[in-house]
């Protein structure tokens, strides 16, 4: 029997980016807020100081900062006829764990989606005709527009100190920035990062081919910066340990660096760590949440009553918590009815690897979000009329380092071990180079999430089951993008190059990205969405899913965190300015 705790105004599940932003915004309003976080407290000085944060084996290979599968994992399969089996060791994607969530281990690549991404289906129907969209492709318009979200993108970028160069200020094109981006109300908070040699070479080659390269917007920042919460970030040192690592320089935007020092001072906020929320509790009508139940590390069960429940865990785990709590109708791919678990999507990435002639690249000098990019082939920035696919992505340089256990290029045909391998590794390390594409992943009727019939977690609850594969549309898109990237690679006159467009089946053992989206998607119609335009549950109006990537109706050709942060602020404003004045459904 759960022990009941004193009531709070707001209980937040998970203290990552969205949880900490919502906590700060609502606690500032005077609400009594508690966050329940299943992982440990983490901060820079104790958990990833510059004395040992740069440990590839511990963090990059043994995955010390990530969720342990024994705590939660999921089962995977490529299609509905297969038996799903559990991911026993995470490798294809890497969910975070602990205070800060994915904000601790991310690379810092901070993009906005394109204006036409937000009305994707109606835009494509208008430009190409409704009959051109594959029947099983379940893409849909967002219930918000780019113009509505712009101020919230701006707020998140200012919170995180993002480094970059605007390409479109209030509708006026700016040299040096991304000419395809939506309008921005202000320049980036900090100037672009410096570029290493590989990125400078890419920019030169792309320019020669007529493209307009620009520095990738970066959460690893170019100079010290004090954000609107009064917290000061440090300068990036190009150490090459971002992806999978915490930053010892306070230079990578994270909840730790950008929010927690201000949040933790608020007397009406507390966080309960090492405590896993097992369900959102509903009253007898099923229309109102009464709080959450959680289990601490001793196995003790607690009930935390609250007026508002904010589901702010990692994307996939938001979906599972909604399924386990019985909020919203579970999706059935056979009938196409139901919503929770629907429109799971991913990201379609690919790369071209090269060995360059007589070059000392020093690719270990890098940041997780440095690099020069081009956006000519993203979204609908190019005519898809005769291409046989929709979608696209950005592409560019931006190798995140050259950590030698996982980055050891050798020429084609080199044996995997022995004298020849050793010689080739020594000769190639400093001239091997990788460039990549980062493409959209649209949603399909039979790509979805539900509860697994066989496998259980350590508390005896069913694991979530993921059914996903790359579809013809995405494979063609990746081939097209990779061909364009290979043309740029060729202009670098490499000794050799290998282009690797994405092919199916999706393989859960090969790391591609941790951009798992959808499952609790936002929309204008409760028949095809779990939450409304304010990220509020259609069914239980005091439950919100404030902007985790689980609310994306499909995934676009950019990294999700910028949009996740914008939606967190958007939801916070909706709660502050609308819900608190008149609790109940906002739509």
């Amino acid at each position: 029997m759960a022990r009941k705790l004193p009531r709070k105004d707001v209980v937040i599940v998970g203290l990552g980016w969205t949880g900490s932003i919502l906590a700060y915004e609502l606690a500032k309003q005077g609400l009594d807020v508690v966050a329940i976080e299943r992982g440990p407290w983490r901060d820079t000085a104790t958990d990833f100081p510059p004395g040992y944060a740069q440990d590839e084996l511990r963090y990059g290979v043994r995955l010390d900062l990530f969720l342990r599968p024994q705590q939660e994992t999921l089962t995977v399969r490529n299609n509905m006829t297969q038996t799903a089996l559990p991911i026993r060791r995470f490798s294809g994607f890497l969910p975070g764990n602990g205070v800060g969530g994915a904000g601790v281990h991310w690379n810092g690549q901070t993009w906005r989606f394109l204006p036409s991404d937000f009305n994707l289906r109606s835009h494509l129907e208008e430009r190409y005709g409704a009959d051109k969209i594959p029947a099983d492709m379940t893409i849909q318009d967002w219930p918000v527009t780019y113009d509505e979200l712009e101020p919230y993108y701006d707020r998140f970028e200012k919170l995180a100190g993002i480094s970059g160069k605007a390409g479109n200020l209030n509708g006026v094109k700016q040299a040096g920035g991304n000419p395809f981006e939506g309008w921005r109300s202000s320049e980036y908070p900090t100037p672009p990062l410096k570029q290493n040699y590989g990125s400078a070479l890419f920019a030169e080659a792309a320019t020669k081919l007529g493209y307009k390269p620009f520095p990738r917007p970066s959460g690893n920042i170019s100079e010290a910066y004090t954000n609107p919460l009064g917290v000061t970030m440090g300068q990036c040192t190009y150490c090459g340990f971002c992806e999978r690592f915490g930053c010892g320089n306070y230079a990578k935007a994270s909840p730790q660096v950008c929010v927690l020092p201000a949040l933790m001072r608020l007397p009406n906020f507390s966080v309960q760590t090492e405590s896993e929320v097992t369900r959102v509790n509903l009253d007898s009508t099923g229309k109102r949440a009464t709080g959450v139940t959680y289990v601490d590390t001793s196995g003790e069960e607690w009930e935390q009553p609250a007026d508002i429940v904010l589901v702010c865990a990692f994307s996939l785990f938001n979906v599972r918590l909604m399924l386990l709590s019985g909020i919203g109708k579970p999706y059935d791919p056979v009938t196409g009815k139901g919503v929770v678990g629907r429109n799971y999507a991913y990201q379609t990435t690919s790369g071209v690897s090269m060995i360059l002639k007589d070059k000392a690249l020093n690719s270990f000098i890098a940041t997780g979000s440095g690099g020069m990019m081009i956006d000519e082939f993203n979204g609908d920035n190019f005519d898809h009329k005769d291409l046989g696919f929709f979608g696209g992505g950005y592409m560019g340089s931006g190798q995140t380092g050259a950590r030698p256990i996982t980055t050891m290029p050798v020429p084609k045909g080199t044996p995997k071990w022995g004298a020849q391998w050793k010689k080739a590794a020594a000769e190639t390390y400093n001239s091997g180079y990788g460039i990549s594409t980062h493409g959209s992943s649209y949603s399909y009727r039979d790509c979805y999430l539900d509860l697994d019939p066989t496998y259980k977690d350590h508390l005896g609850r069913p694991l979530m089951r993921m059914t996903f594969d790359f579809k013809d549309n995405e494979i063609k898109m990746s081939q097209f993008l990779t061909d364009r990237l290979a043309e740029i690679a060729k202009a670098l006159d490499p000794v050799e190059m290998t282009a690797s467009p994405r092919k199916g089946p999706w393989n859960s053992t090969i790391y591609q990205t941790t951009h798992n989206t959808g499952g609790t998607v936002m929309g204008a119609d409760p028949e095809t969405s779990v939450v409304n335009r304010y990220c509020q549950s259609w069914d239980v109006s005091n439950v919100f899913v404030p902007g985790g990537a689980s609310v994306f109706p499909q995934n676009h050709g950019y990294n999700p965190t910028g949009t996740v942060g914008a939606l967190a602020y958007w939801t916070a404003d909706a709660i502050k300015n609308r819900y608190l004045k008149n609790p109940g459904p906002l739509v």
Partner: protein
């Protein structure tokens, strides 16, 4: 010389603590309520503890001899520097197998274990320590029966390479194990040992990093990021510093 009894009581204790600390880090911190400011407590950081030379902690002497011979073929000594054996790869693997990695700490080990598609990943309950014990025994049996009763480490280098290649391609199928799977694990662990920070027992004197020109744990390249096409000149440093700065054991 990795055998022998130079392990002081203190360093043995460090090793035990190191193993325990890693286990704890994965699972069992205590739930707590944090409020009224950023918490900080002295002594709660968890830097890696240095692997020290000393007796094998996981391998038997025969297993160790086989692994030392194998890592020296996977990464042979040459004019560019030491091979896997002198770089400490076997010591690295030994300490990994004796610790949380060996038992698959933190992984999802609930049954049922069913074979699946390659895209679904590793689906056996056997964790690395079990796989090494079984794999090395099966290889020893195979070598004994194929090479007139010899042990792997007694074979000529060319014969050792033949055995390793046969495992890699699946041409040699030792009884009771997946030879190709075991070879892939051994190769992966050997390269980890060669390129991981020396604090874990391999990459001795930063041999792996020196070979390729990786500067290690330096953590600050602000002065170098825009010096394009100039080879970075400074030698590597480890989390422990550099061996020429520290007292030799």
């Amino acid at each position: 010389m990795m055998h022998g009894s130079r392990l002081s009581p203190l360093s043995r204790r460090s090793l035990l603590i190191s193993t325990a600390a890693l286990l704890v880090a994965g699972t069992a911190a205590r739930a707590r309520t944090i409020t009224q400011g950023m918490p900080w407590e002295p002594g709660t950081a968890s830097p890696p503890l240095q692997v020290r030379a000393g007796p094998w902690m996981f391998f038997t002497p025969d297993e160790a001899a086989t692994v030392e011979a194998a890592v020296d073929r996977l990464i042979p000594p040459d004019e560019s520097g030491p091979g896997g054996k002198d770089a400490g790869c076997a010591v690295y693997i030994d300490r990994q197998l004796a610790g949380p990695y060996g038992v698959g700490a933190g992984l999802y080990l609930h049954p049922p274990f069913m074979p699946g598609a390659a895209s679904q990943g590793y689906q056996s309950p056997d964790m690395p320590a079990v796989r090494y014990r079984a794999g090395l025994a099966a290889i020893a049996d195979y070598v004994k029966s194929s090479f007139a009763g010899k042990s792997f480490h007694d074979l000529a280098a060319a014969d050792q390479d033949k055995v390793l290649s046969g495992l890699e391609t699946g041409a040699i199928k030792p009884k009771g194990i997946n030879g190709a799977g075991f070879f892939a694990l051994l190769l992966q662990n050997t390269q980890e040992g060669f390129f991981a920070d020396p604090v874990y027992g391999g990459n001795r004197d930063m041999a792996g990093w020196k070979m390729v020109g990786f500067p290690g744990a330096r953590y600050d390249y602000r002065d170098w990021v825009e010096r394009h096409n100039e080879k970075y000149p400074l030698p590597p440093v480890s989390i422990m510093g550099r061996s020429d700065w520290t007292v030799k054991e």
